[in-house]
Chain length 225, copies 2
């Protein structure tokens, strides 16, 4: 039932390693700048359509209501639809369009922040391009990486995309309002997440109904402390 | 609202072009072998969790019932869960695990087919790794490429991932049984698909209820002729 893939060319591996090394150095600098400015940085990764933008819009809105100063960078191959959606929260938002690249890199974050004063922010959210593979190797200087998984995607995604779950800090199960309609098996999903990354915290939310958002914000506040 | 991405290194572009050129040559050979053997080859691309495997299992089962001889290759980074699911259709199925690669390549198809007699097949389905970016540039020798989009992912996916929609021949909107629960806007999704690839045929299906499957099989038969 199994066939081996072709081997990646040594030369492309070498080039990729150089790119990753430069990215890591820049991410390290970013992390120091974020800490000095007192801004807590959270990145979000998931499949396309897992509900990152809806979750983030709700998060920004609630944080604003609670007198925090959040902002967001959002990555996509094309369009600035997501930035337009997030801007409804009244938080500062900037779109990064990557063209054909399937992930954000630290250099893009650095450039996007050029004209922002980090000291005026409490939270910075970075929504990565929707992809369960490419973003996993790129450190963006974040303090916390969330991997989102919607109930409609199937419980076995963590087993199929182990690297992205392994490189994340918290798993967020989204679209809980649809859980019944798709017969989502929470215990199976939870077990699969734990199989890939033992001890990983798992939150459940619905941006539509607000379910689970208070627990998420409490968790966010405790991570920041 | 927009920041420019970093420029990809010229050297990595060159290496990538060489890989793509070799892939195209091998895909060309595969396509000739498929034609000589009389097998019609359909590849499937989509986000993770769009329902490729459920759609394919239903398709294989219905084709078997109608006395066709279908088979499937299925790609994933890890696990052979999908092959196990598809094998329930009684069609020959083989899993290709790609490790960290986010797409299938022609060489993997070539290797996976080594011990299969193509003359004994009417249809070969190739389910790519769940990803809306990486698979678009890799020709697998298929006759028809389907891009799947589930109603839960949002209507704007074609605008955000134009290349994969542009490189596909038919769009299939999946999980129609959930359309009402997520307030899916068919006209908006259709318009976005047409904006990216004018004239693209769009089918709607639910593998769960069977809705739209007859029209899909009729379309498949007409493509084969």
């Amino acid at each position: 039932m199994s066939a081996q893939p072709t081997v990646i060319q040594p030369r492309i591996v070498e080039v990729r390693q150089n790119i990753l090394k430069r990215n890591d150095e820049l991410a390290h600098d970013l992390r120091q700048r974020f800490q000095a400015a007192g801004v807590f940085v959270v990145s979000l990764v998931s499949s396309p359509g897992s509900g990152k933008t809806a979750f983030l819009e709700k998060t920004l809105t609630l944080l604003k209501q609670r007198q925090y100063r959040p902002a967001a960078l959002v990555g996509d191959l094309a369009t600035d639809n997501d930035a337009a959606r997030l801007a409804r929260s009244q938080a500062p938002v900037k779109q990064i369009t990557t063209g054909t690249l399937c992930h954000l890199e630290a250099a893009m974050i650095d450039k996007a922040l050029e004209d922002w004063k980090l000291e005026e922010l409490d939270f910075l959210f970075i929504e990565n391009v929707g992809n369960l593979v490419c973003p996993s190797s790129y450190d963006l200087g974040e303090n916390l990486r969330l991997v989102l998984l919607s109930v409609t995607e199937g419980e076995d995604k963590p087993l199929k995309y182990p690297t992205i779950f392994n490189s994340s800090d918290v798993a967020v199960v989204t679209k809980l309002d649809l859980a019944e309609a798709v017969e989502f098996d929470w215990n199976a999903a939870h077990a699969n997440i734990q199989a890939v990354r033992p001890g990983m915290p798992v939150l459940g939310v619905s941006a539509k109904t607000g379910q689970g958002m208070d627990a998420w914000l409490a968790s966010l506040a405790s991570h920041r402390r």
